[in-house]
Assembly symmetry: C2
Homo-oligomer: 144 residues x 2
DNA sequence: TTGAAATTGATAAACTGTCTCAAAATGATA
DNA sequence: TATCATTTTGAGACAGTTTATCAATTTCAA
C-alpha cells in the first residue's frame, strides 16, 4: 500500500526533474488516487480527495492532472460533454466504446482501423498527429 | 435567391408542424444563412447575421441551431474545443479530417472503417447508436 | 380579428476550466 | 541543518460557452 505505484512515481519524478518542478505532498496524493482510476473527471477527483483532504483546491487538481498529461501518465479525453482523464500509465494507444445508459467505458484497439485511418488521411494529403474514435451505444446489460 | 433552400425549408416546416412550433422571421433568416455554410459556430453565425440584423439575439441563434439539429438539418460537433454546427441537410453520415494549423475540415466516408466499428462493438456486446471519428493533423499546404 | 400559445431579445445564471496573488512549501546550496 | 530563491498552493476572481428567465412581441388556428 505504502510503496505502490513506484514505477509511475518514478516517471513523475523524472518529469519533475527535467522541468525544474517540485514534488509536493499534493502531487503524491493526487497521483496515488488517480492511479486507482481508469477514467475520471477533475471534479470527481476533487470530491473523492475532499474526504481525506478537505482543503485540496480544485485548481490544484486541474493543474496536477494536466501535469500528469505532460508527464505521459494521463490523457485528457472529451467524452460527450465531460472531460475525463484517462489513466494511461499502463496502456498504449486505444479507443473507446461508451454505454450511453450506464456510462461504462470499454477500451479497444484495432490496428486495421488505425491503418485505414492513415490511408484516408494520405488520400487527402493529411498527416495525422492524433485521432479520436468513440463508439456510443448500449452495452449488453443495458440493452435488456 | 428568394426561393432557394426550398427543400430544407420544407423539412423545417414539417418538423415545426409535428411539434406545434411556429415559423418565424428569425428561423427563416437563420436557416438561409446556415445553409450557405458547411461547419460553423453559433458565435460566427451571430456575428455574420448581426451585419444585416443587429438585434438578433445570441440565444436565438443557439435555440434555432439546436432546433435545426432536432429537425435533422444540422448536427452539433465538438472539434477540439469548438462546437461547430455541421450542415447535414444534403449529406449522409461522414467523419472528419481536421487541420490543426489552418482549421480546414475535410469530410470523408469509409465504409470499411464503419464495418470494422460494428465488428468491434459486436465483439464487446455493444450496439452502436452513434460514433465519432476525427483525424487531427496537418493538411498538405500546412505541412510545408 | 381574436387570443392562447410560442418565440424573442436582453441579460442573468450555470458550468467548466484557467488566472491571480499572497502565503506556504520545497530543495539546492552553503 | 539553516538559508532562501523558486515553485506551489488555495481561495476566489475571471473568462468562455451555453442555457434559463421573463416580460414583451409574434404567430396562427379558430
Ligand atoms: Mn481509456
Ligand atoms: Mn461535416
Ligand atoms: Zn450500459
Ligand atoms: Zn492546414
Amino acid at each position: 500500500m505504502a510503496n505502490k505505484h513506484v514505477k509511475e512515481m518514478q516517471v513523475l519524478k523524472e518529469h519533475l526533474g527535467k522541468h525544474q518542478l517540485k514534488l509536493t505532498r499534493q502531487r503524491e496524493l493526487i497521483l496515488n488516487a488517480f492511479l486507482r482510476q481508469e477514467h475520471i473527471t477533475a471534479e470527481a477527483m476533487y470530491h473523492q480527495l475532499a474526504k481525506s483532504d478537505p482543503h485540496l483546491g480544485l485548481a490544484t487538481i486541474y493543474r496536477t492532472l494536466n501535469l500528469f498529461c505532460d508527464a505521459g501518465l494521463a490523457q485528457a479525453r472529451h467524452f460527450g460533454s465531460q472531460t475525463k482523464y484517462d489513466n494511461v500509465s499502463h496502456k498504449g494507444h486505444h479507443d473507446h466504446l461508451i454505454c450511453t445508459s450506464c456510462d461504462q467505458i470499454v477500451e479497444f484497439e484495432n490496428e486495421e482501423i488505425e491503418r485505414l485511418q492513415e490511408e484516408v488521411a494520405a488520400r487527402n494529403g493529411f498527416t495525422i498527429k492524433t485521432h479520436r474514435l468513440e463508439l456510443y451505444g448500449l452495452c449488453s446489460r443495458c440493452r435488456h
